[in-house]
Symmetry: C2
């Protein structure tokens, strides 16, 4: 079974002085402004495509890790994943770095890292992101 989820950006004006508004259409969970300024140098309260991609990647990775751990009998107390996505103007999206900290009863650090590496390789958003390098640091909290 397949589910299609939609989000919309409405943009007015040119790239550098224009502005956009992003809505999560399928869930109606949120909407937020987006600008080039936020993408190139960072602006409080205004998002950019890389931050949104980081949200997608951190959520997908966390689900994949929770699934892998639970299937092996290690239901996680908590998994915290930060995805840090770097954008370079004129170059593009340079990479996604996953920083993972988790509370998992009864696992060694080495066992945990193996689960995290597997989730990094196989989560659906990682696979979609075949055009950029993905790196990871994972540790038990």
């Amino acid at each position: 079974m397949a589910l299609t989820s939609e989000a919309t950006t409405v943009w007015t004006g040119d790239l550098k002085s224009g502005t956009g508004n992003v809505t999560l259409d399928s869930s109606t969970a949120a909407e937020f402004p987006v600008t080039w300024q936020a993408r190139a140098v960072g602006t409080p309260n205004t998002t950019n495509p890389e931050e949104l991609l980081g949200a997608a990647h951190s959520a997908c990775f966390s689900m994949a890790l929770a699934n892998g751990l639970s299937a092996a009998g290690h239901v996680p107390d908590s998994i915290q994943t930060t995805a840090a996505i770097t954008f370079e103007a004129g170059v593009g999206v340079v990479g996604s770095h996953l920083l993972v900290s988790a509370k998992i009863p009864g696992l060694t650090e080495e066992e945990f890292v193996a689960f995290a590496e597997d989730a990094k390789a196989n989560c659906p958003i990682s696979k979609a992101l075949a055009g950029i390098p993905i790196t990871i640091e994972a540790e038990l909290a």
Copy 2:
């Protein structure tokens, strides 16, 4: 110059009964809940990785199109881009479909579609998404 943007997911529990919370850390523009249920069948007010990826792709594509048009002297009145991302459990992210409607003074439909095809091929998020097919329908409003 490069900018790194961060977003974080905190997940508790297993995949199917667990829950997550996503925060846009760099901008602090929004936070929202995420669940497997929202990803597999859709849930109001709860997002999923594909909807967030759609937000990233629609924003990036809109910026790239605004830039291409403006550089050629056709500053857009407005560009509306919906990214529809399909997820199939057990398969992964199947593709991103961009649906674009724009108000651009003085362009023919054919000229506009050429700009849209260029933005689809060259926007940085499209390039990062090398692992999935990207399709587009674009028309002047």
